[in-house]
């Protein structure tokens, strides 16, 4: 029976080529626009470390003064001062803990005659690589003892290793960063989590390439490397950030159970109270957000992208309404044919099924066309100036979703016309003929 409906639908669609094309194109446009924006939205609001994000937490305390403070309303600062980061790091109250800041690293060329160049650097502490699952190609990270002794070591990315050493293992080699000789102890595999969750608030971009060099925090600071972002609450000598009244570090902890999370939150509160007692703090507020919550707090997905997705779905809605209208007009025109079929014994639900098959076919064709439009839309996005531009690609999930959206929207569009068609009385239509 389904075959028969398919044949009928094909014949009916072919009879009105212009109208059929119109329905398919509008549906395709709506689907293409929705899938394009949905792909971007999914990409931008994705989980950078799906296997681990639930166990990673961003900690906040607030060393600012009473200026502009409203108890209960003011959220704690988004960065940490050096003193607090080191106190929390050395307290070892979590499974792992990491303090970090971004920096511009000036890397000297290996061969004479070439110019030095700047790369994105991360100044951090020993647990960074294990905590964030950064995979090593060669060698490994440094130890907590290296942090304290300001060991002259560095971990470099795969792309910097390719650029400087042609991809061969460079462990043990020396590179000159900001006029300091550092020994390479590890080379990462390709690692660029999206969004760049650890770079939030530190002055880096939210999406795009990974960082090129990773250095122990105190080693980097001893080499006069400055954080990309800092914020001071009083007049400060920013050449001595360790003691200045400034916040410039991000602080992450790894906690494996709800009990540990509760315990760590309590620990942070106690720490703030203790600092208030010491006269260093005025504000008692602290915060501990898991990775995805932190990204939501940071509003990492640009408003424009949400707006575009809303717009695209509004557009799809109009396209569906348009298709309902056209399908309805078509089915009313075929009252006579329906009358004949009903008179020859077709049941109401058979007429209904026939028209739904026709709508479904329009939907599938619209989905195919929508896929073409979506690929074109994503191509356009890739040529936009946004930092996430290079990442916009259609994956298998979105590919399947395209057809699901196409089928659902066309079947919804087909419901009303098919129901109307099935309600036609056979007699009246035959009489009119």
């Amino acid at each position: 029976m389904f075959d028969y409906y398919l044949g009928l639908a094909l014949r009916s669609l072919r009879r009105n080529k212009v109208l059929t094309a119109l329905m398919i194109v509008t549906l395709g446009l709506g689907i293409g626009a929705s899938i394009t924006t949905l792909t971007v939205l999914r990409l931008l609001s994705g989980d950078p470390l799906p296997q681990k994000s639930a166990r990673l937490f961003y900690a906040q305390v607030d060393p600012y003064t009473k200026d502009g403070y409203e108890a209960g309303k003011t959220k704690p600062q988004r960065l940490m001062a050096y003193t607090d980061a080191m106190n929390l790091l050395h307290a070892h109250q979590a499974d792992r803990q990491v303090a970090l800041a971004l920096t511009d690293a000036r890397i000297a060329p290996l061969r004479s005659g070439e110019h030095p160049f700047f790369s994105d650097g991360v100044m951090t502490t020993a647990d960074f690589f294990t905590m964030f699952d950064a995979p090593f190609q060669y060698g490994g990270g440094w130890s907590a003892a290296d942090d304290e002794s300001r060991a002259q070591v560095v971990v470099i990315s795969d792309f910097l290793n390719d650029k400087l050493f042609g991809g061969a293992s460079s462990v043990g080699r020396i590179i000159r960063v900001n006029d300091h000789d550092l020994r390479i102890i590890g080379v990462l595999k390709k690692w660029a989590p999206q969004p760049r969750f650890y770079a939030q608030e530190l002055g880096g971009r939210s999406y795009g390439d990974g960082d090129a060099v990773f250095l122990p925090l105190q080693t980097a600071r001893a080499a006069n490397m400055d954080p990309t972002n800092d914020d001071c609450w009083a007049v400060a000598d920013i050449t001595k950030l360790e003691t200045a009244p400034c916040i410039w570090l991000g602080f992450w902890v790894e906690l494996s159970s709800d009990a540990e999370v509760a315990a760590y939150t309590q620990f942070l509160s106690n720490y703030a109270q203790q600092q208030i007692a010491l006269g260093r703090f005025y504000r008692p507020e602290v915060a501990l957000s898991d990775l995805m919550q932190w990204l939501r707090n940071e509003k990492v997905v640009p408003d424009d992208v949400r707006l575009q997705a809303g717009l695209a779905f509004g557009f799809l809605l109009i396209c569906v309404v348009n298709t309902v209208g056209l399908l309805l007009a078509k089915c009313l025109r075929r009252s006579q044919e329906i009358g004949v079929r009903r008179a020859l014994g077709a049941m109401r639900r058979e007429i209904f099924a026939q028209f739904m098959v026709e709508a479904g076919m329009v939907g599938l064709a619209g989905g195919l066309l929508g896929l073409v439009f979506a690929e074109f839309g994503l191509w356009c996005i890739r040529h936009q100036p946004a930092e996430y531009a290079g990442l916009a690609h259609l994956d298998v999930h979105m590919f399947l979703l395209t057809f699901l959206v196409a089928l659902v929207s066309s079947l919804v569009a087909g419901l009303l016309p098919a129901w109307r068609a099935s309600q036609l009385a056979p007699g009246s239509q035959l009489k009119a003929a």
């Binding site: 502009g68 000036r106 110019h115 007049v235 348009n322 009313l332 025109r333 100036p385 946004a386």
Partner: protein
Amino acid sequence: MDILPILSTLRRHKITAWLLILEIALTCAIVCNAVFLISQRLERMNLPSGIAEHELVQVQLANIGNRSDAEARAKTDLAALRQIPGVTQVALVFQMPFTDGGSSNSGIKLDPQQQEDTVDVTQYMGENLLSTLGTRLVAGRDFRPDEFVDLDAAVTALHSGNLKGLPQVLVITQMLAERLWPGQSALGKQIYLGQGLPFRVVGVVAHLARPNRLSKGVEYSTVWPISMNVAQGASFLIRCAPQERERVLKSALAALKQLDPNRVVLQKRTYDEARHAFFANDRAMTGILVGVCLALLIVTALGIVGLASFWVAQRRRTIGVRRALGATRANILQYFQTENFLLATIGIVIGMALAFGINLFLMQHYELPRLPAIYFPVGAIALWVIGQLAVLGPALRAAAVPPVVATRSV
């Protein structure tokens, strides 16, 4: 034209009529808001910067070497740049209007006892900044050479609370002057920074936009007599005739490289390029919005054409009968046009209410202002026109139905 027969016909095609109304309403609501968003973006992209935009090029170097000799280097560099033919002004500045990256901002107070800051302003600094940028002074004067303080010295003075080591004066924009002292002359007035440090306004410039953080007041800018060098993050700003920019930029790079071949150039561009890059996202978003608006209007127009065509085809016999009973072609044409006008009007009324609702939602979530009332009549006229154009084809076909149809198929 009598609309009663039209209404009675529409009543018999309720579903189709409502679908058309719904489509027009949705289109009207979305297009009104999208056009409003476009106008907001265009307004942002066309903000005046207050500077000689087409006459400026910027070169930014990374600081290499000692911080201590940076001041001496700055003097040599500036002298070398002034030698380049065609260069009229050179300055070492920290920031420019409408550029991304770092910016220096601070809260200022009108009364030293105040708890909260009055406004957040951006702080421009650099020797020879005003004449290089080409801002227009509307009152007071530019800084005298003896008023300048080196940035490091100013920071040290702030630290030790030594007022003598700080600059004493500043220049502000007209917009900021109007905000701080409405209707009065700003010259000679005091503003306070931090813990009540006083500064005196000696000049007012017509316009000077902030680098970023535009939501805090696009033109709330202040200029300070503080000199900067490359080590402190300043970049070279060179002014020349618009047609000379490419050549001057090349010569400037050559001159700077000649003084020290090991320097890393971080940025080399004309100001126009810098401004273009700053608004790139707005431009892309405007393009997308325009595209969606056009697509929506086309889809709606095609929908009207499609439905009207079927209506005409369905009513061929009725039309024939009317023609046989004496209706002119013009009557038939008018009939379909009036019908479309009626449907469009209902759609527009519903659409406007929807547009208002969407705007309220956007105001809550995206810090957007209220939709100006002018959008309602303009949107209505646009949709009426599109509806009439879309129905014209099918209506003409209807008018062309000969009266003989009435007799033929019976």
